[in-house]
């Protein structure tokens, strides 16, 4: 898996990525996933990332702008496609 932009978050990121890949291929793709089981691990990773990396590198404001631009995509792709 790839590295994190914050090296201090690499370990927790790897644990989260491993959990996610397993959940994704074994449960989500087989339509047996009721919830995202890796959420607790993600919480740890996110805390590490937000606290240090994003603020320090001034990325948080850029992200807010990008998210605002993406609203149309959300409206379109959160609707289920023809099945």
């Amino acid at each position: 898996m790839s590295a994190s932009l914050a090296p201090e978050c690499n370990d927790v990121k790897e644990r989260y990525d491993t959990c996610f890949l397993k959940w994704y291929s074994e449960k989500y793709l087989r339509n047996t996933a009721a919830t995202d089981e890796c959420e607790p691990l993600f919480g740890q990773y996110k805390t590490c990332l937000t606290k240090k990396a994003l603020k320090e590198r001034g990325i948080d404001q850029m992200l807010e702008d990008a998210k605002a631009d993406n609203k149309e995509n959300d409206a379109e792709y959160m609707k289920p496609s023809a099945r």
């Binding site: 898996m1 790839s2 590295a3 994190s4 932009l5 914050a6 978050c9 990121k13 989260y16 990525d17 996610f20 890949l21 994704y24 291929s25 989500y28 793709l29 339509n31 996933a33 919830t35 995202d36 993600f42 990773y45 996110k46 990332l49 990396a53 994003l54 990325i59 850029m62 992200l63 702008d65 990008a66 998210k67 631009d69 993406n70 995509n73 959300d74 792709y77 959160m78 609707k79 289920p80 496609s81 023809a82 099945r83």
Partner: protein
């Protein structure tokens, strides 16, 4: 404005492609050395539609022609914001990304869609499109040049991206086959 569009078929199932999509930028992929880091910003599973929505931040470093650096600033590190939507029931992955860095000067918006191939069973169709617009003030000639260079760079990255992803898919299949073989041998060893 410049438009880019391409299609490709991967000789791997939609499940394999959509799973390996998450680990595309791993160490095995030497074609993606311009990608320095990939971080997941959020992930949510819609309780009704079961659509998995993910936001990621991709950190890249690429060389730029000198004159472009002078206009855009000399930092080679750039950030891309990506939102993806996986609809496992419809078997569709849609990924939308846009540059965050230099966005007031240049806008690159990319959309990628993975769906099962209609031509060959067990294959996956990959469609990629991009829109490149130079927003910087100045002469139209400069804007055109910036758009052309960006388009050319995008095309090169797209080709490298496909090659790199093919390699990741191949390795993943080999590893999976190896694991299945080892598991089978273990079972037979136990049974014997």
């Amino acid at each position: 404005m410049r438009i880019f569009a391409s299609q490709h078929e991967f000789a791997y199932s939609w499940e394999e492609v959509s799973t390996n999509n998450w680990r595309k930028y791993c160490a095995h992929n030497d074609k993606a050395s311009h990608v320095l880091a990939v971080d997941t910003l959020s992930r949510s599973l819609d309780a009704t539609t079961h659509i998995l929505r993910t936001e990621r931040l991709i950190t890249c470093r690429q060389s730029m022609p000198q004159w472009v650096k002078r206009i855009m600033g000399s930092d080679d590190t750039s950030y891309v914001y990506e939102v993806s939507y996986v609809d496992a029931q419809a078997k569709r992955v849609t990924m939308c990304s846009q540059n965050m860095t230099w966005s007031e000067l240049l806008q690159v918006q990319e959309k990628v869609v993975y769906t099962p191939s209609v031509e060959a069973e067990g294959h996956t169709r990959f469609e990629q499109s991009a829109r490149i617009i130079a927003l910087c003030g100045g002469w139209q000639k400069i804007k055109n040049s910036i758009e052309e260079i960006s388009l050319e760079r995008f095309r090169q990255n797209a080709a490298k991206g496909r090659e790199g992803f093919e390699r990741v898919l191949e390795i993943s299949r080999q590893v999976f086959a190896q694991q299945r073989e080892e598991a089978r041998q273990q079972r037979e060893g136990v049974a014997a």
